[in-house]
């Protein structure tokens, strides 16, 4: 049973915490198994109890984040001793295999290159806007690598690198930032939702996809992504609640990058951490160092595993930092000082991973060169594609609004076609 002498096994001392003694584990905290709570609620609670029992801890200990942020890599790239990783009973995170780590590093390098290429393309006026995830690449890569082929991902507008790491063509991901009218890729082909701009609305889509899969008896896990600011939105609440009530395997992945455009986290939430929000809905929460590729992968992979095994949602908060402005249209100097940015630069996810892999003997100069060259190739093809004028048929804007056009849309389409033909004719006579 629970070893209460281990610092991470017992919850923070607070008066209202449940008893963590083995007896409490056996009977369960009364609030969760009270017969008065109603038939379905009791059933739900027993699932959480079942999971927590298998780890020898209370339901509260299972749902509350571990005592400290999960971290496996020091800022200098060396492995944190196991007893200092923040893990404990029920919060154990095995370090991913070497080949997975190497794959993650390759994606990190490509992701960073794509971020910086896009940033440059906007400055050159070849892309309309780009919300960069520079500094958050560990979260981006982890989100893609933790999922199986049949799983789904629901990303936000800042998750391009995650979508690309999942296998979608970078050009297709970028077209909406160029100003095209559509999302670029086929969500069903990649099992990646169209990147969502209205904050947290996509979390509910994730819950619905998981619910449909569950009704059909499929074990699809859905990764629902959002940022720290988005946790203030109502749909965040509704999504966590629906997922918990319907017991569907959704992993809510919150990238806490410190700012919602200019507003810091302290203005968004007074919760001890965003991971603490989980327990209020009856799901487990965990907080991880979002700039630690090893820990991000380890926690995400286990969350996906638990979600699939137990058909239960989980919440993971990754603490990271948006190194660049919200978009190129933003002036970050108005709300944060350079010093803060410099501090985070020292926690760069790429450098930490590079040092680890080099020390492990998994990365030498030749491999580095090869990985960098592959990333450069992606950037070059993006550059080239974005420099070309997109070939688009303006008339297509009428074609997908309904399965078959209404009479009014047909008339408007003809009107635009006539106008376009007129332009062509005019140009032809010049």
């Amino acid at each position: 049973m629970t070893d209460n002498t281990t610092p991470h096994a017992s919850p923070p001392s607070a008066d209202n915490r449940a008893d963590t003694s083995p007896t409490a584990v056996d009977s369960g905290p009364h609030s969760l198994v009270s017969p008065a709570a109603g038939h379905e609620k009791a059933e739900h609670a027993s699932r959480i109890l079942e999971a927590s029992r298998s780890f020898g801890i209370t339901a509260e200990q299972y749902m509350l984040p571990a005592q400290q942020q999960i971290r496996m890599l020091d800022p200098d790239g060396s492995l944190v001793p196991e007893e200092q990783q923040g893990t404990g009973p029920g919060h154990e995170y095995p370090i991913p295999e070497d080949d997975v780590l190497l794959k993650a590093y390759t994606s990190l390098v490509a992701g960073r290159r794509i971020n910086d290429q896009n940033y440059a393309l906007v400055r050159q006026g070849r892309m309309a806007v780009y919300p960069s995830s520079h500094g958050q690449e560990a979260c981006q890569v982890g989100a893609a690598l933790c999922l199986g082929e049949g799983d789904w991902m629901f990303p936000t507008y800042r998750d391009s690198v995650a979508v690309i790491s999942r296998g979608v063509d970078p050009l297709d991901v970028m077209v909406s930032f160029r100003g095209d009218w559509h999302c670029g890729y086929d969500p069903k082909a990649y099992r990646v939702g169209a990147m969502s701009t209205p904050l947290t609305t996509q979390l509910l889509h994730a819950v619905g996809v998981a619910h449909a899969a569950k009704l059909r008896g499929e074990d699809t896990v859905v990764l629902a992504m959002c940022g720290d600011g988005a946790t203030s939105e109502g749909d965040f609440h509704e999504a966590l609640n629906f997922a918990a009530v319907f017991e569907v395997p959704v992993v809510f992945f919150v990238q806490n990058n410190g700012y919602a455009i200019s507003v810091p986290l302290s203005n968004q939430s007074a919760a001890p951490s965003l991971a603490h929000k989980a327990i209020g809905y009856g799901l487990a929460g965990e907080q991880v160092d979002g700039n630690d590729m090893v820990a991000v992968l380890a926690t995400l992979r286990r969350a996906v595993h638990l979600a699939r095994e137990n058909s239960m949602p989980l919440l993971l908060e990754a603490v990271t930092y948006r190194m660049q402005a919200h978009t190129n249209a933003d002036d970050e100097t108005r709300y944060r000082d350079r010093e803060e940015v410099e501090q985070w630069k020292r926690k760069d996810p790429l450098l930490r991973m590079q040092k680890l892999l080099t020390a492990k003997g998994l990365l030498d100069e030749a491999a580095e060169t090869q990985i960098a060259a592959a990333a450069e190739e992606v950037a070059a093809s993006l550059r080239q594609a974005m420099s070309a004028e997109p070939e688009e048929d303006p008339l297509e804007i009428f074609d997908h609004v309904y399965t078959e056009p209404t009479a009014q849309l047909s008339a408007q389409r003809s009107q635009l076609a006539d106008e376009l033909a007129g332009v062509d004719a005019e140009e032809g006579t010049r």
Binding site: T201, L204, H205, G208, T220, D235, F242, V245, T403, A407
Partner: protein
């Protein structure tokens, strides 16, 4: 709810209920969910018996959160289901508007037709039932204004069945407005005959077909020669009473039931107005920037040279719904419609 035969009267509510159970019977991917729709059968009992018959996986209660209902419907539809969701009342649907406007309406377009969302959003709407505040809104204009949504509103028991079946079968999202005041109205309809009519009408269109189809299918529900009264949903029955009364005064009114606001059957509108040369548009919703405004504008654009008189509107006043003690002063009444008919320039 048992299937009624021709000999007993069928209610609007049982027609809707049977439409859902027939659709669920035919297609396993049809799921019904919302607030109180399971055990209780809905506050209006429209989903009565569906959970018992099809099980809790096919018809179930959700947490009390309309955005959650609409948002999870999006995900379900992405993943192969055909959700029929209930918003408990017109004004309770507003928390779901972001999901409806930003995703349900736009998903097909922003994915170039790769992801279509065959969702039906059922909304009990309108007044005339003594409902208290926040229970009687006519909110159709918000949805009709949003490209990508279809907006159906049946006015008869037969259409309640036929149009809900079609809404569930269509690949586009449909906002299905059910006039509350008609729920317990009855007609001598045989539900199995309606079922047969629906099933045999798949590839039909036009006057003889019940299908709304891609371009709308408004019906002339009373023939006349002097004036066209255009209406939809809860107002159609009031308009028919007014037309009856007008006939006693020697005015022959033709009544057009739009059935769907989107798609909008402009040709039927033009046809009746060109025939009669006069038009009155009747709807419960406030008149300012309304569906009635749009109908009036289209008549002006298309029928100007056929008109013997300005087009008039009889709508609710531009006020929050005055529930329930004063609602009779707000809703278009037979008298108010007759007054409008009187105002049309008859001395030509």
């Amino acid at each position: 709810m048992s299937t009624a035969t021709a000999t007993e009267a069928t209610t609007f509510a049982s027609a809707l209920n049977t439409a859902m159970s027939d659709a669920m019977e035919e297609d396993d991917s049809v799921v019904v969910f919302g607030e109180d729709v399971g055990t209780l059968g809905g506050v209006f009992r429209i989903t009565d018996g569906l959970t018992t018959r099809f099980g809790e996986n096919r018809c179930f209660d959700t947490p009390l959160a309309e955005s959650g209902i609409a948002g999870t419907a999006v995900g379900m539809a992405i993943n192969g289901m055909r959700p029929v969701i209930e918003m408990q009342f017109d004004a309770f649907a507003y928390p779901a508007l972001e999901q409806v406007f930003s995703h349900i309406a736009k998903m097909a377009n922003r994915t170039r037709g790769r992801v279509r969302l065959p969702i039906v959003i059922r909304i009990p709407y309108g007044g005339g039932v003594g409902g208290v505040e926040h229970h009687c809104d006519s909110s159709e204009a918000y949805y009709a204004h949003t490209a990508g949504l279809k907006v159906f509103t049946p006015a008869t028991v037969a259409d309640a069945y036929l149009m809900l079946r079609e809404a569930i079968d269509t690949e586009d999202p449909v906002v299905f407005f059910e006039p509350k005041k008609l729920y317990w109205s009855k007609a001598g309809e045989d539900l199995s005959a309606l079922r047969q009519q629906y099933e045999s009408s798949a590839d039909t269109a036009g006057a003889e077909s019940p299908r709304v189809g891609p371009t709308g299918n408004a019906k002339v529900v009373r023939e006349g020669t002097d004036v066209s009264i255009i209406s939809y949903g809860p107002s159609v029955s009031t308009v028919l009473k007014a037309a009856e009364a007008a006939a006693e005064d020697g005015i022959s009114a033709e009544v057009l039931d739009l059935r769907s606001v989107v798609p909008f059957d402009e040709e039927a509108l033009v046809s009746t107005v060109e025939k009669t040369g006069r038009a009155v548009v009747v709807a419960e919703a406030q008149g300012f920037v309304s569906v009635a405004s749009e109908i009036t504008a289209r008549i002006q654009e298309r029928c100007f040279h056929s008109l013997a008189s300005p087009v008039l509107r009889v709508t609710g006043f531009d006020i929050p719904y005055p529930a329930p003690k004063l609602e009779e002063h707000h809703l278009p009444s037979v008298d108010r419609i007759l007054d409008a008919l009187d105002e049309l320039q008859w001395e030509d």
